[in-house]
């Protein structure tokens, strides 16, 4: 029985739309996190003094705000994904579920 349902879902254009939108979004965001993080790691590995430059005449280095910004970025990106998934993607998912209910 389940296989029948799964087959119907696969042919539902809304499912194709859901998978395309969600995967695209999820992979783009993941790529962004990986890029930012590994750039940070690469700078630490190959050119540590870059992050050691001080801001103005003080002792605070640019590494500090950059590190903080990566932490904020993680939080903000999870917020963006959760918001879109809990509204747009879940709405699509519910429509797909409705469709199968009518068809079976």
């Amino acid at each position: 029985m389940n296989q029948e349902i799964y087959k119907k879902v696969r042919n539902n254009p809304k499912y194709i739309e859901l998978v395309k939108k969600r995967s695209g979004f999820a992979w783009k965001l993941s790529f962004l996190v990986l890029l930012v993080y590994y750039m940070f790691i690469m700078v630490i590995a190959f050119s540590p003094s870059t992050l050691g430059q001080t801001i103005g005449n003080g002792v605070t280095t640019i590494g500090m705000p950059i590190g903080l910004m990566i932490i904020f970025l993680c939080f903000i990106l999870t917020g963006i994904y959760t918001r879109r998934a809990n509204n747009e993607f879940d709405k699509l998912t519910n429509e797909i579920k409705e469709d199968i209910r009518f068809e079976t």
């Binding site: 799964y6 879902v9 993080y37 790691i41 590995a45 540590p48 990566i70 809990n86």
Partner: protein, 516 residues
């Protein structure tokens, strides 16, 4: 004898027993035991995840690292955090949609149950035990310093409390202890940070300037902790993918009712954990300024803080809040240990009862009552093992153990879980051979590496056969390559069926249709 510390400690112990009693009455079925009935909300689970993840090792360890090395501590904090967005984008909801109690449910969804579950259980138990040893030894030493109790007594106390908490209260008691601990830890650390900033006129520049005056400006930029590119990248991989392969963390996603709540859990958890790491950073710098110059807190002979440099946050709490606040932070540190160790024990017991017993040994045909019994006996067994290992490793160098736990999680658990969700052509043969290769490479390279082969066996880091402390770059690569190669060359009929089953699994992972 610190009276406030002992009284708050006792209050926490009693509260934990109260929660266990309350939860035990509500824990009747296997679902209750493994997932707290599946009715935890996203916000509660976010706090519980934070409580599960922010171990005493990260509270005391990272603030101690910042105290010692400054900026380098931030590199670790960020590494521990960046796994979370990836878990949200690629793993959390799929895991919730496909699994029931353990991540092996997902990995073995369309593959052969026995071999995949055995490997996943082995990876889980290895991760759990290593992590457990690190936590037990840490807790014994901490309680010894804080409350003046003998080391063995402390380890036995923690072990017995865990057995009672997990065996009777299951996931429900574990969850609430983790939630309460997260709230206590976040409030305690916030108070510490605010007190530091108040003394610094709420200026980071003043804080950093005062710290630089004491330790010179090396603490303001990346130092020698991560010395070469290979180590830096390898550490990054271990922290990021290790987080996504920790069985006690993955298990938390089954306690919420659906994908929506699973997403919210990660969002809140990321916020709490990120905020917590910012606090540990301030606390570490605060300790440089307020603790490192005060002879009251120093062990002059050893040139460290009293009780070791990991005690930075503890001494700082005394420096800014006196005995009362020291007592509070000590009780929080104990709560932290208890919450993390109980999460670990529960994950280990579930791997034994749900994966090895119910699905491998009884082939899914055993009854639930027996499975529950097995899980309780496993909890008792793991608790006793944790006590024995905790005592055995008292004077050993255990610094490599959390790293090894992350390396195994990243090299065995994560690749199998991830590819089972996303790669159609994964077969049982590929997953078993590749996963085993990843697991054994990680263990082998740690043994041959600078800490075990070098420091522990030969007393010199340079004697190591494998020159890097973090094996993840190599072991994760080997795992993925192994899984890929032994999957695509698998032309058996079983493999064909496993590949065909991917499409249906994918529908379920994307929509939750068929999940309960």
């Amino acid at each position: 004898m610190n009276i406030p510390a002992i009284s708050m400690f006792l209050v926490f112990v009693l509260a934990t027993l109260g929660i266990t009693y309350w939860a035990a009455k509500r824990t009747k079925t296997a679902k209750d035991f493994y997932t707290a009935g599946g009715g935890i909300t996203g916000f509660q689970n976010g706090l519980a995840i934070a409580g599960d993840y922010m171990s005493a090792a990260s509270f005391l360890g990272i603030s101690g690292l910042v105290y010692l090395k400054g900026f380098d501590g931030l590199i670790y904090s960020i590494g521990f955090l960046v796994g979370w967005p990836i878990i949200l984008f690629l793993i959390a909801e799929q895991l919730r949609n496909l699994g029931k109690y353990t991540f092996a449910d997902v990995a073995s969804y369309r593959l052969r149950q026995a071999p995949i579950r055995t490997l996943a259980a082995f990876g889980s138990i290895a991760t759990v035990l290593l992590y457990l040893i690190a936590q037990m030894v840490g807790s014994g030493k901490l309680i010894q310093v804080l409350f003046g109790l003998p080391y063995e007594f402390a380890v036995v106390l923690v072990g017995v409390m865990i057995i009672v908490l997990v065996a009777f209260g299951g996931m429900l008691a574990t969850t609430w202890v983790q939630i309460i601990k997260a709230i206590l830890l976040l409030s305690g650390a916030s108070f510490l940070a605010v007190m530091i900033m108040a003394k610094m006129g709420y200026s980071f520049e003043t804080l950093f300037q005062s710290a630089v005056d004491i330790k010179t400006d090396v603490i303001m930029s990346p130092g020698r902790l991560v010395s070469d590119p290979i180590s830096a990248i390898s550490l990054g991989i271990a922290l990021m993918f290790g987080t996504a392969g920790l069985p006690h963390i993955l298990m938390r996603f089954f306690t919420v009712s659906n994908a929506k709540e699973a997403r919210k859990s990660v969002f809140y958890a990321t916020g709490f954990i990120g905020y917590f790491y910012i606090l540990t950073f301030i606390i570490g710098f605060g300790a440089i300024v307020l603790v490192s110059q005060n002879p009251e807190y120093l062990d002059i002979a050893k040139g460290t803080l009293l009780g070791g440099n990991n005690m930075a946050a503890i001494h700082l709490s005394h420096a800014v809040g006196g005995n009362m606040f020291l007592g509070f932070i000590s009780a929080v540190a104990f709560a932290t240990i208890l919450a993390v160790v109980s999460g670990l024990t529960l994950a280990g017991a579930s791997a034994i009862s749900h994966d090895l017993y119910a699905n491998v040994y009884a082939k899914g045909k055993g009854n639930e009552l027996t499975e529950m019994k097995v899980s309780k006996y496993s909890t008792i067994g793991l608790g006793i093992l944790a006590i024995l290992l905790g005592i055995a490793f008292e004077n050993q160098n255990i610094a490599f153990m959390v790293g090894l736990a992350f390396a195994i999680a990243a090299s065995a658990n994560f690749p199998i879980l991830f590819l089972s969700m996303y790669w159609k052509k994964l077969t049982t043969r590929g997953a078993v051979i590749g996963g085993t290769l990843g697991l054994s490479t990680a263990i082998l390279l740690v043994i041959l590496g600078p800490i075990v082969w070098g420091q522990i066996i030969h007393g010199d880091e340079n004697a190591a056969i494998f020159p890097y402390k973090y094996p993840a770059l190599f072991s994760v690569t080997i795992a993925f390559l192994g899984i890929w190669f032994f999957s695509i060359t698998d032309k058996s009929d079983v493999a064909k069926k496993e590949i065909e089953a991917f499409e249906d699994q994918y529908v379920r992972s994307q929509t939750g249709i068929g999940a309960d």
